[in-house]
């Protein structure tokens, strides 16, 4: 290929001895052509980010590249001395990272950070660098760039910070841009904008883009070609249409099948008596301190929802929409500032902690973060048995119950004597579910229970939650930012924006015929909607 920008040939990166496999990346070969977007897709631990770091020469010393070559402009980057590599980095190959919140220096104006890139490579003088920074900020679509250039990162939103990162990366007109999960930390609507921006830049500048992601929706949206990685190897490599619509490798097939679909299901109305009634619930925080004027922040504003017994309601919204706050008010982790919550006809707002304790059995919660939600110092059996023990069950009986529950959620009975760190993310979410179910609740609140999981694991855990719900006749409030997941699991969907519920209805109604402008924006921003339509 004459327009090949970067040739990775037989790259192998060793893992330290004692790892679960000898190589982090094994015999990886691909070519990145001028003006194309190559997506590397894989689940966590597949070696996709390590491959990207290798190209930038950012491998940690523990992970040496032992075989292969990375050829750029006739030179093998792996053999390049440090000084020469520094000249390539940023100038010829630039990179943007996942976390826009931490990737920028918090105590330096963004314009100066962009100018720094130019300075490091000896381009221009102070005045011209500033002008160039403003120019770049304009190009990446930052509002009022001549003011933003002097703003500190904390003034900018996540999406804007990621735009600044992109501006920095593009400052020296690199011929290759490496994007390591650049939109994973962003909301869908912001993600859609950033993806459009990357697409645009690639078209106008002809930059070759290596795009690392775990999200098939994003891949469908942006890729020209796709490389699928599993256990450090590329198992499938081909053009977008071939890999997405006609995957040949069983792993690719499994991954694509696991991607949840936007299911416009017609669901029957559940006409049992209501279990949970939330009426005009509000939570207002006051920002400002001793000397600053206090301003109210409405996290939840007069939100009302009703859950019939046995029903699943998905609460959908972007970060900061108040969906988690609402759920935490229901379990009284947060005290609401207005409105009422009734469970089984009994008002729980205003109950003292002691009066509320017996009711806690009825309302349980599954948390988002599989790593933070289990106490690392406790054995799994103890974690699951804790709830019943707290509510007066003898320890031995509770342990027996824990074993049964662990088996029920698909783990071994012997798991009781192991510690959380011995389990994978998906397994930990199963433990978290077992802990919630141990109290035999009527209402289960699931706060983004699958958003930290890989797509194939996500599908399994979702299925398990649905199974358990049916088996134990649970009523469920399911919080998610992912409309696809919501549509698959819920009887009804409620969309939240700025603390208010803007739309509520069956998946068919909300997704098929959205009434509110925000719902339409959300649906339009789902990555890979076009591909979705072609899926069988």
């Amino acid at each position: 290929m004459s327009d090949a920008l970067l040739i990775v040939d037989g790259l192998s990166i060793a893992l330290p001895t004692g790892g679960d496999r000898p190589y982090a990346v094994e015999d990886v070969s691909f070519i990145l052509a001028k003006g194309e977007i190559l997506c590397i897709v894989g689940e966590s631990g597949s070696g996709k980010s390590i491959s990207a770091s290798a190209i930038m020469g950012l491998l940690p010393r523990r992970l040496p590249a032992v075989k292969g070559s990375i050829t750029f402009a006739g030179r093998d980057l792996l053999k390049l001395p440090k000084d020469a590599m520094r000249g390539v980095r940023g100038k010829d190959i630039a990179m943007i990272f996942q976390e826009p919140m931490t990737a920028l220096n918090p105590i330096m104006p963004v314009g100066k950070q962009i100018a720094e890139v130019l300075e490091a490579h000896g381009v221009g003088d102070t005045g011209s660098r500033r002008a160039r920074a403003i120019e770049l900020l304009t190009e990446v679509g930052i509002p009022s760039p001549d003011q933003t250039v002097d703003a500190y990162p904390f003034r900018l939103s996540g999406g804007q910070r990621q735009r600044v990162m992109i501006a920095m990366a593009l400052a020296l007109k690199p011929s290759i841009l490496i994007c390591d999960e650049p939109t994973t930390a962003l909301d869908v609507t912001t993600q859609a904008q950033i993806l459009a921006l990357i697409r645009d830049l690639q078209k106008t500048r002809g930059t070759g883009i290596l795009f690392v992601t775990h999200d098939f929706g994003v891949v469908a949206e942006i890729a020209d070609r796709i490389a699928v990685m599993q256990h450090g190897k590329i198992v499938e490599l081909g053009t977008r249409d071939v890999v997405l619509d006609n995957p040949r490798h069983p792993y690719t097939q499994k991954l694509i099948n696991a991607v949840p679909r936007l299911a416009m299901r017609m669901t029957a109305a559940v006409d049992t008596p209501p279990l949970l009634q939330v009426q005009r619930l509000s939570k207002t925080y006051w920002r400002g301190g001793l000397f600053a004027k206090k301003t109210p922040v409405h996290a939840v504003k007069e939100a009302s929802i009703t859950l019939a017994r046995g029903e699943t309601l998905a609460l959908v919204g972007e970060s900061g929409s108040g969906k988690s706050t609402l759920a935490r008010c229901v379990v009284r982790l947060i005290e609401p500032t207005g409105g009422t919550i009734h469970v089984n006809g009994r008002e729980i707002t205003g109950l003292s902690q002691r009066d509320f304790k017996p009711l806690r059995r009825q309302i349980q919660m599954v948390f988002q973060d599989p790593f933070a939600s289990l106490n690392p110092r406790k054995r799994v059996g103890e974690i699951v048995a804790e709830g019943p023990v707290t509510h007066g069950m003898p320890r031995a009986e509770a342990m027996e119950k824990a074993k049964e529950l662990l088996q029920l959620v698909g783990l071994d009975r012997s798991s009781v004597s192991r510690f959380p760190h011995e389990f994978s993310g998906g397994q930990r979410q199963r433990i978290g579910l077992a802990r919630a179910l141990a109290l035999e609740p009527e209402l289960l609140i699931a706060d983004e229970p699958v958003s930290a999981l890989d797509v194939s694991v996500q599908a399994q855990v979702l299925k398990l939650i649905a199974d358990m719900k049916k088996r134990m006749n649970l009523t469920m409030l399911f919080i998610t930012h992912d409309l696809r997941v919501a549509s698959e699991i819920a009887d009804r969907i409620a969309v939240m924006q700025h603390g208010e519920i803007v739309e509520m209805g069956t998946p068919l109604a909300v997704l098929g015929n959205p009434q509110h402008a925000y719902t339409r924006t959300l649906i339009g921003a789902i990555p890979g909607v076009a591909w979705e339509a072609t899926r069988s």
Partner: protein, 279 residues
């Protein structure tokens, strides 16, 4: 945990520290058998030179055997070091945990209280307490504990502040566990490593404080202490150097060993601190 011991035992300094400290502990336990008799009593002619066959560390101006005073002095050092540290931990952990977990005005009140103690020069405060309550092992332990708990409270509070927002703590609330159960059952076990490291350094500081108090003549008059020996030998250091030098070495080695152990524990508990340079 086996990984912890492996890393700890690979640390040369820590192992040496453990060995020295073990010797001190053995001396304290078996003092009546190692150096029989009352260390305050005259054991030989006054000012016997060091390395004398009968008194290999010599005797002081009153004929007391320096070796016997070192062996018996180990006891009070360890009692004060251990006792004061335990008491300081009790105060510091409780206040820090409550402040960090509850936050709000409780945190404000407790932290201002802590700062009040931190703003008083700790040695002066200790001197004052011992002087008011008559010098005794009990009052020294109390004084040392009162001046050394504030750092514990601050460290524990900081740990609790970051741990209390973790989801496993919220999960415990949702399960219906009470506040004390969450503080001591859920969060405290996760905050132990910095507390353990800090307490080994606190023992060392307490030993030094006790020696300093005794040096100034505010030690327990019934108990032999290294600080007292250094103090009483001070005036004759040019004619009988051994009376202050040997207790000084004993003090130095004990404090050194505790610091080495503390460093070792700290490194073994946070192995990643040392990998950082590689990444």
């Amino acid at each position: 945990m086996s990984g912890f011991w492996k890393r700890f035992s690979r640390n040369k300094g820590a192992v040496i520290g453990c060995a020295i400290f073990a010797v001190v502990v053995l001396m304290a336990i078996f003092a009546p058998w190692i150096a029989p008799g009352d260390p305050w009593r005259m054991a030989g002619p006054p000012r016997t030179d060091a390395f004398d066959p009968a008194h290999w560390m010599g005797t002081d101006m009153l004929g007391r055997d320096v070796w016997a005073t070192i062996v018996h002095g180990a006891r009070v050092s360890l009692i004060v070091g251990g006792g004061a540290t335990l008491a300081a931990l009790l105060i510091g952990v409780t206040l820090g945990a409550v402040a960090g977990y509850c936050g709000g005005w409780i945190d404000d009140v407790l932290m201002r209280f802590t700062e009040f103690f931190q703003s008083i020069p700790s040695f002066v405060l200790a001197l004052l307490i011992v002087a008011i309550f008559q010098p005794s092992v009990g009052s020294i332990v109390t004084a040392v504990a009162i001046v050394s708990w504030p750092p514990v409270a601050r460290v524990v509070r900081a740990e609790f502040l970051s741990l209390r927002s973790r989801e496993f703590v919220q999960a415990a609330v949702v399960l219906g566990q009470g506040t004390s159960q969450i503080i001591f059952g859920q969060i405290l076990p996760n905050a132990l490593s910095p507390i353990v490291v800090l307490s080994s350094f606190m023992v060392a500081t307490a030993v030094l404080l006790e020696a300093a108090l005794s040096f100034l003549g505010l030690g327990d008059p019934n108990v032999m202490s290294w600080g007292f020996m250094i103090g009483s030998g001070r005036s004759t250091i040019r004619i009988a150097w051994w009376t202050s030098v040997f207790p000084g070495i004993a003090l130095f080695l004990t404090v050194l060993s505790l610091n080495l152990i503390g460093e070792g524990i700290s490194d073994a508990m946070n192995p990643r601190l040392h990998d950082r340079g590689e990444a």
